[in-house]
């Protein structure tokens, strides 16, 4: 049963005919992690933002449906839309330092999800915050709860944001390049943690990344985007065994692999880019927004 269903979603700059997302359709089942991959500017993050209702002001949804647990979000009154997102969705952002308020201690920043969304009393929320930090393997939760963000390492801050994302038991999480700012050994720990938490809480997840290595470790299915268009959508096993689209194959060849340096870091050939551009233009021909 799919938890999130996006159908023919198109997004554009307000007042401009050019689309940033082009008829994007995808589904994420409960308990499934779906990867969104592509180059910078392909619209990966834009999809997550559209679902969470946090698109920049200048960007508008031109057409399409976003169904979350059966309800079409775009048809809901704004207040109900916000309530549902707040109650059932969460975000794990890319940069843990800018996502945390530098002038507040960690404790209230986790607790406010429990007090504001679930209506818990402060003492109960405080106790749960400590449990959550323990759940994301932070040693000495009491000390960390009293710390300020700058006193903690990057990996530790990302753990805190994961704890806070899972705090109100959301059904759906957008993880927007959550490990791009971290070094490889910390990245591995964080990815394993996200996998563990996601499985334990059975959360549906959109996982935005440009790293196909990361996708192969955390996702069960993926969509490959180019210029806001899904060029290939499939399950992980099929994708890595036999990528169907020429652009997907080129992305795989561009991905660094220390085990196979000769098939690594090959720039996407211009012919492939021309072909995928032509495909995008052809899709625009039939579209009237």
């Amino acid at each position: 049963m799919s938890y999130l269903t996006i159908t023919d979603l198109s997004v554009r700059l307000a007042g401009s005919p050019a689309r940033l997302l082009r008829d994007v359709s995808l589904t994420v089942k409960s308990g499934e992690v779906h990867g969104l991959v592509g180059e910078s500017g392909a619209g990966k993050s834009m999809i997550g933002k559209a679902v969470l209702g946090i698109l920049p002001r200048a960007v508008e949804i031109a057409s399409g449906r976003i169904e979350l647990d059966g309800a079409d979000l775009l048809q809901l009154p704004a207040k109900e839309h916000r309530r549902r997102i707040g109650r059932f969705c969460a975000l794990i952002p890319q940069d843990p330092l800018t996502a945390l308020n530098p002038s507040r201690r960690i404790a209230p920043q986790i607790m406010n999800r429990l007090t504001d969304i679930l209506g818990w009393e402060a003492s109960r929320a405080r106790k749960r915050a400590a449990e959550l930090l323990d759940e994301v393997h932070i040693p000495d939760p009491e000390r960390v709860l009293k710390s300020y963000p700058h006193e903690l390492s990057g990996g530790m801050r990302q753990r805190i944001l994961i704890a806070s994302a899972f705090a109100a038991e959301p059904k759906f999480i957008v993880a927007d390049e959550p490990t791009t700012a971290l070094d490889v050994t910390v990245q591995k720990q964080i990815l394993k943690l996200i996998r563990e938490m996601q499985a334990r809480h059975d959360t549906a997840m959109l996982f935005v990344t440009h790293d196909l290595g990361v996708v192969s470790k955390v996702c069960q299915s993926l969509s490959v985007l180019y210029a806001g268009k899904v060029v290939e959508a499939t399950d992980i096993a099929t994708f890595f065994r036999a990528p169907a689209h020429a652009y997907s194959r080129a992305l795989l060849a561009a991905t660094p692999k220390y085990t196979d340096p000769d098939a690594s870091l090959i720039p996407v050939p211009p012919t492939v880019i021309e072909a995928v551009r032509a495909e995008v233009e052809a899709a625009d021909e039939g579209w009237r927004g």
Partner: protein, 266 residues
Amino acid sequence: MSDLYAVRDLSLTLPDLTRKPLFGPAPHTEILKGLSFTIRKGAILGIVGGSGSGKSTLGRALVRLLEPTGGSVSFEGRDITHLTEGEIRPLRRRFQMIFQDPMSSLNPRHRVGQLIAAPLRLHGVADPRKAALDALDHVGLPRELAGRYPHELSGGQRQRVGIARAIALKPAFILADEIVSGLDVSSQAQVLVLLERLVADLGLTLAFISHDMSVVRRLCSRVLVLHRGEIVEDAPTAELFANPRAAYTRELLDAIPLPDPDQSWA
């Protein structure tokens, strides 16, 4: 072949401001703990390690943005460890640096042409305008981009501008500090192929700082692995990957997510 750099017992301590008391000086932390190695002319040396391992500090000591507290660094046979700013200035054009984040290392108010020409003017190069355009040719950017501002370029193009600025002075040595970690895979591949070609064409020596072993595998001829300010392994690339000796090197390798769902990743 001769050595471009010879580093002996290099150590560096910096005041740790996170532990500074309200009054009085901050305690010192040892960041580099006696490193010795050489860099051959024409080599591409990879410097890898986790965050906080001291790899950027080492790079900055090589190009003398930081002054070592102990040991010696010699460049082209000359001891540059404690040269004063005035003495080192003429040498600066011989070693250049490319930074991680081109958006914050390129002045947003200057056009690309000015950005590349400014260091050339500073070093008294004849006809800096033409040299800047030549540098754009070298990195495969169209000359029209000279009139653009950094924000008008893509991430990959901006990083090429950073490279153009470094090679415009015709240096002997370039330090590249995590220059592809902010780029997506396809621009990453383009920038690395470009760098490889420039090193061969211009006879450069390159030190490439990275935390990504896969990138290093493809690009570098020799690799230094740094851990907590010490060299834990120094070996030719093929040998290091075939037979990693230090536990920390294996840990770094094991942490890399390969694009292969069957890779066990315990």
